[in-house]
């Protein structure tokens, strides 16, 4: 059944009352994303027609707004200043109760960032991080505008995480009672499960559409875009709050240590001296929306590719087969060739295996003029949040024309199959890609573009 999309009356659209040029001017002039903070004193309830996206019918998908919080900065301005100044957010690991000698991407502001009083039953480091992240760049107030305008039922939530609130569960296990049950204050039924950050985001924003957590290890934060695109195309919802949240915890610190994948120094992606990852934490959020409902949005979501390695639980396919499949599928779905991609934000964890194999795969997928780098030297590997954080870095590269060169890559490995960008570079970025690969051989690639570009 082919239903044409409802006409959009931009004059009646209180959020997008600025033209694209005006919005750009505001953003570029203030550089604090105040465009997201436009005061909407009167939000009209507009009836949204049901169901347009049917199989085969193209639906434009755009990114309406986004924000990121990581060790490299709380909020977009801080993140981009760190990247511009090549200031790493990594620090010596000093979590209470651990003497593991490694560098981590820790969000130090978390200690002084309590949850709102109405959300305190959901206390966990992961949810604190989500809460801090939601409050940056006017994101939360923007969400309230969107749900008021579209109807809370027409907005879904998809959150990627690898470890959810396991840090809180770990703490609870240090204080079990004699019978083996949790004790106060850890008796939190809505925290000790995989959907904890999804539960939190729904409660914090009032979203009433379908809500789900995706947990596919380190590809989680990318796969939420693929799933959200399907939900919107299907007509299930008109917009999806997509997020990636993962916080530092013992499970991942000691787990990656057991695999001998943790570096004792700040990670050096693609450098010949690299010897492992730096684990980080991050919360990133964006709103993916039907394009006709967001005429002022600057970024288009062009496509995604998902695949499995079918090789090993914790080692990438030696020829990068799954990575190639994910990238090629993402390009095909974006109707682009590899030469069309101006920048690729790589998975680039600084593990020996990933970095070499990823360049092997990349060389089969993009053109030689494409710039490629890893930003994990700034943030650490933020695991289930990495796909979202790096999608946001890609969006900022498209918006600003600044392509981050790989921090800490001073002596690129000779045997790399694709040149890695080391220095920050100014370049018009019209279309960009980001890779995320996880345990279980789970891969996802996303492609974004300047809208109309």
């Amino acid at each position: 059944m082919a239903l044409s999309p409802p006409p959009v009356d931009t004059e009646e659209d209180p959020i997008h009352e600025f033209s694209i040029e005006q919005t750009l001017t505001v953003i570029l002039a203030t550089y604090d994303h105040s465009a997201y903070k436009i005061d909407v004193s009167v939000v009209k309830h507009r009836a949204i027609e049901p169901a347009r996206g049917t199989r085969g019918e193209p639906v434009e998908l755009v990114v309406d707004c986004y924000t990121a919080t990581s060790a490299a900065g709380v909020g977009l301005s801080a993140l981009w200043a760190s990247i511009r100044n090549r200031q790493s957010g990594l620090s010596w690991q000093d979590l209470a109760g651990s003497d593991l000698g490694t560098w981590v991407g820790r969000v130090s502001a978390l200690d002084e960032s309590p949850l709102a009083p109405t959300l305190q039953h959901l206390e966990s480091r992961c949810n604190r991080l989500a809460w801090l992240g939601l409050q940056q760049d006017g994101f939360l107030s923007r969400m309230k505008q969107i749900t008021a305008r579209l109807g809370a039922h027409r907005v879904g939530a998809l959150i990627g995480t690898s470890t959810s609130s396991i840090g809180r569960t770990e703490e609870a296990y240090t204080r079990l009672d004699a019978s083996g049950r949790m004790t106060v204050p850890y008796c939190q039924p809505d925290v000790h499960h995989m959907h904890s950050p999804g539960t939190f985001v729904v409660e914090a924003t009032g979203i009433a559409g379908p809500a789900m957590t995706i947990s596919t290890a380190c590809s989680s934060g990318a796969k939420v875009f693929a799933a959200a695109a399907r939900w919107i195309r299907h007509g299930l919802v008109d917009a999806v709050l997509v997020g990636g949240v993962d916080s530092l915890c013992f499970s991942t610190l000691y787990g990656f240590r057991s695999l001998q994948l943790v570096s004792s120094e700040p990670c050096r992606p693609f450098d010949r001296r690299r010897d492992g990852i730096s684990i980080g934490e991050a919360a990133g959020f964006a709103v993916l929306m039907r394009g006709d409902l967001a005429p002022g949005a600057e970024h288009a979501f062009l496509g995604s590719g998902e695949s499995s390695d079918a090789y090993h639980m914790s080692h990438p396919h030696p020829e990068g087969k799954g990575a190639v499949l994910a990238m090629k599928k993402a390009l095909e779905r974006s109707s682009l060739s590899g030469d069309d991609i101006d920048y690729v934000n790589l998975h680039g964890t600084a593990s020996k295996a990933n970095d070499l194999i990823e360049t092997l795969a990349l060389a089969q997928c993009v053109g030689r003029a494409t710039l490629a780098s890893s930003t994990k030297g700034w943030t650490g590997h933020t695991l289930g949040a990495a796909g979202m954080l790096e999608a946001i870095i890609v969006l900022e590269s498209i918006r600003t024309g600044l392509v981050p060169g790989t921090l800490n890559c001073e002596q690129p490995e000779d045997s790399l199959h694709f040149p890695i960008l080391s220095e920050n570079t100014e370049r018009l970025v019209r279309r960009a890609m980001t890779n995320s690969f996880g345990f279980g051989g789970n891969n996802a690639t996303l492609v974004f573009g300047a809208r109309g570009g």
Partner: protein, 285 residues
């Protein structure tokens, strides 16, 4: 907002294969027999040999449950799993591993083992499955606490419809250790596998299912008599209501009495409506 605002084009898929495993019914045939007789057979330990020996040594029970029912569903549908996307759902993931890792981390964190760690990821069952089957198809592991079963059915249905490709769904939960009982009261492990294929694309159709999402708050459908006590606390137990309708379709006594409508809550504000009927094999709607 009027309730009709959420209803959209009726999308359909076919269920072409079912797999199930629990201590009460080791496979689909046993489940159907139990429904008719009210007597449940007890299954033996699981060790599915579709997992290569090298991987099977390291595979935890949660992986074996998932792979078992995924394999059962594909065999019933005579579907080669190589190009079939997969969706895995569990509210808690592998609770035995969580319990054991948290106990280790509380005392001797440096003793966490590499195998324990890589088995702890939520998508571990899909990782093992993809390796066993040589499948490079997309794999998605999801959770939504009490609503994990219904949201996973929706996700698999949307993937099947939007990608025009088969999707193998597995919904499962183990039994909860004492420390995690507050979040999950599951005391009987259960795994359910379902193969969704685009409507009318194979000759092995058990049932055609139309699905819609509605903005209302509803209660869960009731579980089959005799199973409610054991599985009402298990988030994947919600799948048994669907299996009971499917079993009724495939039962020779009732022939093709095709209709069933099931509504599952997706959360506090929305529900998944499944309209189940028999479909002539190979007939497109």
């Amino acid at each position: 907002m009027q309730p009709s605002c959420l209803e959209h084009v009726v999308a359909e898929f076919d269920i072409t294969g079912v797999g199930v495993w629990s201590s009460h019914f080791p496979d689909w045939a046993a489940f159907c027999r139990g429904l008719n007789s009210g007597v449940w057979s007890y299954g033996a330990d699981l060790d599915p040999d579709v997992i290569p020996a090298r991987e099977r040594r390291r595979a935890p029970a949660s992986v074996k449950m998932a792979v078992e029912v995924m394999d059962q569903a594909c065999r019933m549908a005579e579907m080669d799993p190589e190009n079939v996307a997969s969706v895995f759902a569990s509210a808690m993931g592998d609770m035995k591993i969580t319990d054991s890792m948290c106990r280790t981390l509380a005392v001797h964190p440096e003793l966490v083992s590499p195998t324990q760690f890589h088995n702890s990821v939520h998508n571990a069952p899909l990782g093992y499955w993809s390796i066993a089957m040589g499948s490079h198809a997309p794999a998605t592991a999801v959770a939504a606490h009490h609503f994990s079963a219904s949201i996973a059915m929706l996700e698999a249905a949307v993937q099947c419809f939007e990608e025009s490709a088969p999707v193998l769904l597995v919904v499962q939960e183990g039994d909860a250790p004492l420390a995690l009982e507050g979040s999950c009261k599951s005391d009987h492990p259960l795994a359910v596998g379902l193969l969704f294929t685009p409507a009318g694309t194979t000759s092995k159709c058990m049932a055609r299912v139309g699905f819609t999402v509605k903005p209302n708050e509803i209660a869960w459908p009731s579980l089959p008599a005799g199973l409610a006590d054991s599985y009402s606390g298990n988030p994947s137990g919600k799948m048994l209501a669907l299996l009971a309708v499917l079993a009724q379709h495939s039962s020779p006594e009732t022939g093709s009495s095709p209709h069933g409508v099931l509504e599952f809550p997706l959360g506090q504000h929305t529900s998944l409506n499944l309209e189940i009927r028999s479909a002539e094999p190979g007939r497109t709607p």
